[in-house]
Amino acid sequence: SRERFQQTFDEVNEQFKAVFPRLFRGGSAELFLTDPEDMLETGIDVIVHPPGKKPQHISLLSGGEKALTAVAIIFSLFLVKPSPFCILDEVDAPLDDANVERFTEMLAEMATATQFLVITHNKISMEVANHLYGVTMEEPGVTDMVSVRLSSHLSSVEAA
């Protein structure tokens, strides 16, 4: 219905305006309706303003900035309407260490209300996991999965 779409949009936008500066350590961002008169057909635009920079076309953003902005949108959707689980496959690949830190901090918070399954090659992301599975192929072509105790095992599983 029109009202429900409008209301949900506003709630997600509220969250997005708060989540973005948290992940980017500043700056601002907002969602916009391309056609506010028509709730049933309108599209949704995104204006992003990284800290200290001027708002630009999101296409001009860097690889890492785009990934982090997308994460901010996803987290905002979850904060408005939690889903029991969330699966993230290597979303941290384009992020530098400082951004992975902020991403994992917020991820840990979100994880109190949602079960997260996170595939990663990044040591910082591994450290925030409550449980870790190591996936290897002792026998080529055949997946082996083991529960991994954190700390010393990390480097050995990755290097296999």
Partner: protein, 168 residues
């Protein structure tokens, strides 16, 4: 509603029956390239009713059945079971008063498919309906596949509205 576990057998690189227990909070999956991490995600999507082979990186749905390797012959079928717990109140009436519910999908090389809810045969449609009712089926922002994280941003404004629709 929680995910309890995922059991994979014969699906892609899982000729060895494998059980993945979902815990509270963050479950991390790590390992070298090509070892099967993303295949676990494919198994998840498949058991939840994924209809597109391309969506699972295959050419046809039969591509999800273990096709063999140097040390093993191909298998005759793929089977994935997802078990949800604490489902009271989240399910439609016809499912009665379960605490847990398990969903199984099986595909044989012959092309024959089987679908089961709590070991009782059903149709694929029942599985997709179940996930829609529980809100788990709203996968649009629940699953971010490898390399797809900036899809939200490169999408057209018209395409992004489904995110709000699904959260509404």
């Amino acid at each position: 509603m929680k995910i309890k576990k995922l059991e994979i057998y014969g699906f892609k690189t899982f000729p060895k029956p494998t059980e993945l227990i979902f815990h509270e909070g963050i479950t991390g999956i790590v390992g070298p390239n090509g070892c099967g991490k993303s295949n676990i995600i494919d198994a998840m999507r498949w058991v939840m009713g994924e209809k597109s082979a391309k969506g699972l990186r295959g050419g046809s749905m039969g591509d999800v059945i273990f096709s063999g390797c140097e040390s093993r012959k191909p298998l005759g079928f793929a089977e994935v079971t997802l078990t949800l717990s604490e489902v009271e109140g989240s399910l439609p009436e016809k499912f009665g008063t379960y605490h847990e519910i398990s969903v199984t999908r099986r595909l044989h090389r012959s092309g024959e498919s089987e679908y089961l809810i709590n070991k009782i045969p059903c149709r694929l449609r029942d599985i997709t309906d179940l996930f829609l009712d529980t809100g788990l089926g709203k996968r649009a922002y629940s699953i971010v596949e490898q390399g797809r994280i900036d899809a939200i941003l490169s999408a057209k404004p018209q395409e992004r509205r489904y995110l709000i629709e699904e959260a509404a």
